[in-house]
């Protein structure tokens, strides 16, 4: 190794993405953030606000803790699916965006030119894709059952990591950084395993909340719809 410093940044850095990929992913992120802002404004209530702060804090802190997998590689939580399950896709997306913006602006983790890609791939794939997959599985298996919640949570969070890895390989290929097939094979082989960590952490957190303050979960058990949960007034 040359005199390179130990490179500890964890997200897509500046230099990996082409200008057009940076722009397109940036536009996607901005559009979905704008949509999320408007939906949070029209649908959410005051009671969600503190949970947004705590979720952001937890996901930021947990992302710092790389866990070792096999072969001298590590992984860390993405947290998008966790944020989506807890807060719903709209507030969840705002929380994930805050986390990635602070990481890149304050801590040089993830390039500023790759910010849109990092938000989209590691955040919004979870808050939208992960959330809707979880919702589907939970509805199919039993929306008020622990089994439905846990299978939905585990499969959705694992899938969100694998899909994120595949999309990352795709945009790296579109940027002429690495050919698609080799990049995809390498990314998927590690992230199949990293996804298991994501599923375990997400399930542990959601299970804890399910058992202690289930009404905080966006689709709370034993209620007619998510809307009821948000509309609940303080009793």
């Amino acid at each position: 190794m040359f005199a390179l410093p130990i490179y500890l940044a964890m997200h897509i850095p500046d230099g990996y993405l082409s200008l057009s990929v940076s722009l397109v992913t940036g536009i996607v992120a901005i559009a979905l953030i704008a949509l999320s802002l408007s939906r949070v404004q029209s649908e959410y209530k005051e009671r969600t606000v503190p949970l947004m702060g705590v979720s952001a804090a937890f996901i930021f802190a947990a992302q710092m803790v790389n866990f070792p997998i096999i072969g001298g590689t590590s992984g860390h939580l993405l947290g998008g699916t966790l944020a989506g399950i807890l807060l719903g896709p709209w507030a969840g997306s705002l929380v994930m965006s805050v986390v990635f913006i602070v990481q890149s602006v304050m801590f040089q983790d993830g390039g500023l030119t790759a910010l849109g890609a990092n938000i989209t791939i590691m955040g919004l794939i979870g808050t939208f894709g992960g959330y809707y997959l979880y919702q589907l599985l939970r509805t199919l298996i039993g929306r008020n059952t622990w089994l439905g919640m846990s299978i939905g949570t585990a499969i959705a969070s694992w899938t969100s990591v694998v899909v994120a890895a595949a999309l990352c390989a795709l945009i790296l290929a579109l940027s002429d950084t690495v050919p698609l097939v080799v990049g995809l094979t390498a990314m998927l082989s590690w992230h199949f395993m990293i996804g298991i960590g994501e599923a375990l952490i997400t399930l542990a957190v959601i299970n804890f909340i399910w058992n202690t303050r289930p009404e905080l979960i966006y689709i709370a058990p034993n209620q007619d719809s998510a809307q009821v949960t948000i509309n609940q007034d303080d009793e």
Binding site: Y7, K45, A57, N66, V98, A186, W190
Partner: protein, 109 residues
């Protein structure tokens, strides 16, 4: 907000801060999935050596997840302090964005 929920949220924040303070300094130093792939497939040299974030004033204080005023031989403390700072910043920002966004004008029933 019910009082029990307030306690729960306080505990949640305490857990997040504890992770940042006590677990993040012991995080695995192995490359993560993307870094490992970049090394194996030899595209890590494409990384920008002078990223724009290094031009921001924050880079005077933080060198990635490490606070610069702490001497180099106390890397774990530097990481813990950076982690706690970042955790509090995202907590405050996400709360503020929620507060500013959520429409709170409906009358209580």
């Amino acid at each position: 907000m019910m009082n029990k929920n307030r306690i729960f949220l306080f505990i949640g924040l305490a857990i997040a801060l504890s992770i940042a303070a006590f677990l993040s300094p012991f995080a695995s130093k192995n490359p993560d999935g993307l870094d490992r792939v970049a090394q194996d497939l030899k595209f890590e040299e494409k990384v920008a050596t002078e990223p724009p974030a290094k031009q921001l004033p924050f880079s005077q204080i933080f060198d990635e997840y490490s606070i610069k005023v702490i001497p180099k031989d106390n890397e774990k403390l530097a990481t813990a302090l950076a982690g706690v700072t970042g955790t509090l910043v995202v907590f405050g920002l996400a709360w503020a964005i929620g507060k500013l966004t959520v429409r709170n004008s409906e009358p209580k029933e």
